[in-house]
Amino acid sequence: MAADHSPAGRRKARLKAEAGLLAPRYTGISFDQMDGAWLHVPRFPLPPGWSKQEVEILIDIPYGNPGYPAVAPQWFWTDLDLRTSGGKPINHFFSSASSHTSGEYLQKGWGHFCVHVSEWHPASDRRIAEGHTLQSYLNLIATIFRDRRTLARR
């Protein structure tokens, strides 16, 4: 079968390559093979201080033109019922509809973290590890979950 050189085809090829690199660290990882619009991590470990030891993570992959990897992921979704270990809600986390959120995702049990990447420099497909990747973004997500003082709602 001939390679798909369309923007969507290149995005899906990139996602496939990155998912392969992520698989040893994140069991059961999958991505949208139809449109290349999301990547799913079914078991993402959390540090102490949360109501769960692990959560699901769904990363929205920018699919416009330009899309990923030129454009960084803009936000991510996780378990709608996540709270601090003290049972408190979380700053910068949206569990109800807003201009940013998808009602469909909310109905499926996802809440949305509002975090914006301000600088993003991916490398070419042949040198993926030399620039920003979805691993970079997952490292950011892990750091956000460690930042409980910012996230714990007063």
């Binding site: 201080g49 910068h92 030399e130 997952l138 490292n139 950011l140 003082r149």
Partner: protein, 79 residues
């Protein structure tokens, strides 16, 4: 594995974002860490202090003792 420093010993060996990194010198800085890992130079080194506070380190700051580290793209909280 998530982004975190899992180990640090007297030889200056760290695990950052899941990878072991050796740092030379008495007081390696955030810039030393970024150089060694080959990350984009604009990335941020984040330290999680023993009390749970997360701090962004400037390039010239020595890596604090007993902290956990991660390297991430620059970001802001929204909403």
């Amino acid at each position: 594995m998530v982004a975190q420093k899992d180990m640090e010993d007297d030889m200056g060996q760290y695990v950052i974002n899941g990878d072991v990194v050796d740092l030379q010198g008495e007081k390696p800085t955030a810039a030393d860490l970024k150089r060694e890992t080959g990350c984009p130079p604009e990335d941020w080194v984040m330290a999680t202090m023993p009390g749970g506070e997360v701090q962004k380190l400037s390039d010239t700051q020595p890596l604090p003792k007993d902290a956990d580290f991660s390297i991430v793209p620059p970001f802001t909280y929204g909403g």
